[in-house]
């Protein structure tokens, strides 16, 4: 019985540790889409935070396009 309790305790600790690592820290983004070139692009351009940086927003200048 003691052994079973020990195994359960160890498992709970391991599961809780992994869950804490995943949910508390942002893991590196698995940007490994399958592609035909055989190249792996780890990391890529994923911003992670999901926030939108307004400074990169293209602005309408107000002038004419001269079409």
């Amino acid at each position: 019985m003691k052994k079973v309790v020990a195994v359960i305790l160890l498992s709970v600790i391991v599961i809780a540790l992994v869950a804490a690592v995943v949910f508390l820290y942002n893991p590196p983004k698995p940007n490994f889409q399958p592609n035909l070139n055989g190249n792996i692009s780890a990391g890529g351009n994923y911003s992670g935070s999901g926030s939108y940086n307004q400074s990169y927003r293209p602005r309408y200048s107000g002038g004419s396009y001269g079409g």
Partner: protein, 138 residues
């Protein structure tokens, strides 16, 4: 010999290593399913919403990893994991570094399946208890 004493820990370390890896992937899918949607093959997407499929896949992986950690239904859990990884390697990833890594995980899971219950698994503890009970009874 010290090396011989270490031998019995090998299968347990392998089981926990695979379980931890699987837990990481499972929890990551539950935490941020959108990140994983691109890996779902098109023919699976007809089954339902891709996000829901990722949630189910993540939950399935966490469940398998929990069974592996406990050493409960070790053979069944590792057999399911082998099939699961085989389908990922074959239908989802295509040839590449990630597929080769998952192939390694699949072979490691196959080793767990062949080994069955190790000395520190609940399966083994229960079977030992039964064996001792039968000895006393018979």
């Amino acid at each position: 010999m010290v090396a011989d004493n270490l031998k019995k820990y090998g299968p347990t370390i392998l089981r926990f290593g695979i379980a931890i890896t699987l837990l990481w992937f499972g929890f990551s899918q539950i935490k941020n399913p959108n990140m994983w949607v691109g890996l779902i093959p098109k023919f699976v997407q007809v089954l339902g919403s891709p996000v829901m499929i990722i949630y189910l896949n993540g939950t399935f992986e966490v469940l398998l990893a929990t069974l592996l950690c406990l050493g409960l239904f070790t053979r069944i859990a590792s057999a399911l994991l082998v099939l699961h990884l085989f389908s990922i390697v074959t239908f989802s990833l295509g040839y590449g570094a990630v597929a080769v890594r998952d192939f390694g995980l699949m072979i490691s899971s196959l080793a767990i399946f062949f080994n069955g219950a190790d000395d520190f698994s609940i399966d083994y503890i229960i079977s030992e208890k039964k064996r001792k009970g039968n000895k006393r009874g018979g």
